[in-house]
């Protein structure tokens, strides 16, 4: 299929992309606007279940955005549901795009718009490395966090592209079809042009939303305000659905307006095993298991996902398993306590933040 746009040729060649039409939807401003013109205008109750939302709004082949920051306010339970529903051929984009690793392993995501995969001090992701090497994941573009963030911002502000000083001199310029080396028309200085980016579907976890989709994010929004405006289908997952009047009397932290939102999913504990600011800490044990045992081989990640995803049905059965393995309600309460104490919403004197690895060193 002929592609609609003129991409960076060198990048297409380096990335071995033969059919560039696979890239078109991400930067198609025109069809994005047309889709938005067709969105429902009214203030209607948009609440549905997670299962319905994934089934209705995630189509095979869609470009899915990772949100939050790897495991901070990231709706990991949504990705688990995408696995359970066995979606196929998804493109994944996000800065970071850490959660693509296990989604790809399960066969749901074949394509990667990559900025950062890993869990910081917990190490690099051996599973993603294997999958890129043997071709199960195909990298379609390489980004820095900031340049991808600017692509989302350009979309939010209705600008076809944005000029920036990132990526200059970097080899990523030769591995990204959506950016172009250019010159500032006024100063003649080198700049990089980043196209506005429109992923197909995004799930954004908010602490609170009303039933129409007005939503509040507390703690760092990372790219999520930009993504809410940049993406074609927007689903808000939230810890709590609050009355509309809460939004009108307390506008603090409200950053997503109802008209851009397609659906609202009440999803308490939706970020577990990651953290949700104001609500709960991440499960450091789970992440240690994932990074050190789960991602080690194809077999290990298979049994890891069987245990945590395919043999659970929703966030509650996941949570029951997690609590069952780690200390019951006391564990859950400690997750709440750690998050609030670290944010200094509650007294932190006497709260123990230390962590002892659960896997013996000789493993």
């Amino acid at each position: 299929m002929p592609s609609k746009f003129t991409y960076n040729e060198e990048a297409l060649e380096n990335l071995r992309i033969e059919d560039a039409s696979i890239l078109d939807r991400l930067i198609d401003d025109e069809s994005f606007r047309e889709g938005n013109l067709r969105k429902h205008r009214g203030k209607i109750d948009k609440r549905i279940t997670l299962q319905e939302a994934v089934s209705k709004y995630v189509n095979d082949g869609d470009i899915v955005a990772d949100t939050g920051f790897s495991y901070v306010r990231t709706p990991m339970q949504v990705f688990f549901e995408i696995l359970r529903q066995k979606k196929k051929d998804l493109q994944f984009i996000g800065s970071p795009n850490t959660n693509q690793s296990y989604v790809a392993w399960a066969g749901c995501s074949k394509y990667s718009h990559n900025s950062y995969i890993g869990a910081e001090m917990r190490g690099t992701d051996r599973n993603y490395s294997r999958m890129v090497k043997d071709g199960r994941v195909k990298v379609l573009s390489e980004w820095s966090h900031g340049s991808m963030g600017l692509g989302f911002k350009a979309a939010q502000y209705g600008a076809p592209h944005i000029a920036c000083k990132q990526l200059l001199g970097s080899e990523m310029l030769k591995y990204n079809p959506f950016v172009k080396l250019s010159r500032d028309p006024w100063s003649n200085e080198p700049v990089v042009l980043v196209s506005a980016l429109h992923p197909d579907v995004v799930f954004i976890h908010c602490q609170q939303a009303d039933r129409f989709g007005n939503a509040k994010i507390s703690g760092p929004a990372v790219n999520d305000i930009a993504l809410a405006y940049a993406c074609r289908k927007v689903i808000i997952t939230c810890e709590e659905v609050v009355p509309e009047l809460v939004m009108r009397f307390d506008t603090k932290d409200t950053c997503i307006p109802f008209m851009i939102v397609d659906a609202v999913v009440e999803l308490p504990f939706g970020c577990l095993p990651g953290c949700c600011p104001g609500y709960y800490y991440w499960s450091r044990e789970w992440w240690e298991w994932l990074m050190r045992i789960g991602l080690k081989s194809d077999e290990s990640i298979g049994s890891f996902l069987d245990y945590w995803v395919f043999n659970t049905t929703d966030q509650y059965s996941f949570l029951e398993k997690l609590m069952g393995d780690l200390g019951g309600l006391k564990y859950l309460n400690n997750l709440k306590r750690l998050e609030k104490a670290e944010e200094y919403l509650i007294e932190d004197i006497g709260v123990d933040f230390s962590y002892e690895p659960v896997i013996p060193k000789t493993e």
Binding site: Y116, G149, A221
Partner: protein
């Protein structure tokens, strides 16, 4: 008398000395975070820390495990978005940013993409850029941090993720990049800087017990050895006490040999 500084503690101390009071410091997790917090607790109480996920100026508290974790926005007066936090660097509000990498070359260019082959046939794929390229491109001063050995400090990178001084001389400026680029490279050997003309890495100061020969043996390209080399002191007992009891009391980052993460 405290136990003498281990290599990580010396490294954290050397990192802290790169920071001047009053600066805005962009920090990632790991030893740079430890060094920055040590600086704040000792000679630089008035620095402001900012983080790429959007946290800025958090209230003093526990060591963050993640650059998006609660400690990075603990009682912060406001939070930024990611694009905004890098815009602060582009607009001249980031004085120092710290960078680590799998590979660092003589011009301070960095590779965080893969090692052991090419884009398709690597031995190991790494994290990718993250915010590294943004900070390297936009911050006023970049401090590199790493454990120095010939494979991590090669003459040629396998992939150039984040720009240092590119091909040396004026090339960074000509490419249109902002800021001074890398101004120092802090390792277990000591502190390197970059020749003002050629922008090639040179020895600036050595940790106790280190010699130019050891430094060279740990480097995959020729280091410039100036006539005058600073002798970096070991941290005093007072500083070690702050480091061990206040900054990283659980020894998450300064335990040597490193504990399992």
């Amino acid at each position: 008398m405290s136990t003498p500084a281990n290599p990580f503690e010396q490294l954290a101390y050397n990192i802290s000395l790169q920071i001047q009071d009053g600066q805005i410091v962009y920090v990632g997790t790991g030893l740079p975070m430890v060094g920055a917090m040590l600086a704040k607790k000792t000679h630089a109480p008035n620095i402001t820390m900012v983080y790429e996920s959007g946290g800025q100026d958090p209230w003093e508290g526990p060591m963050p495990w993640s650059v998006g974790g609660a400690a990075t926005f603990r009682r912060a007066p406001m939070n930024m978005e990611m694009a905004h936090s890098f815009a602060m660097a582009a607009n001249g509000f980031v004085d120092i940013a710290f960078q680590g990498a799998a590979q660092i070359d003589m011009y301070g260019n960095l590779n965080t993409h893969f090692i052991g082959g090419g884009f398709w046939d690597f031995r190991s794929r790494l994290t990718g850029s993250g915010g590294g390229n943004d900070l390297s491109s936009l911050s006023e001063n970049v401090i590199l941090v790493g454990l120095q050995d010939p494979t991590k400090f090669p003459a040629k990178l396998e992939f150039l993720t984040s720009p240092g001084h590119l091909t040396g001389g004026n090339s960074r400026r000509e490419a249109g990049l902002l800021g001074n680029g890398p101004v120092a490279c802090v390792t277990q050997i000591g502190v390197m800087d970059f020749d003002p003309e050629s922008k090639w890495m040179r020895i600036k100061g050595l940790n106790p017990g280190m010699t130019p020969e050891i430094a060279q043996a740990c480097t995959g390209f020729e280091l410039i050895v100036p006539e005058q080399i600073e002798h970096i002191p070991t941290p005093s007992d007072d500083i070690l006490q702050v480091l061990r009891e206040v900054v990283d009391p659980h020894g998450i980052f300064i335990t040597f040999p490193p504990r399992v993460k």
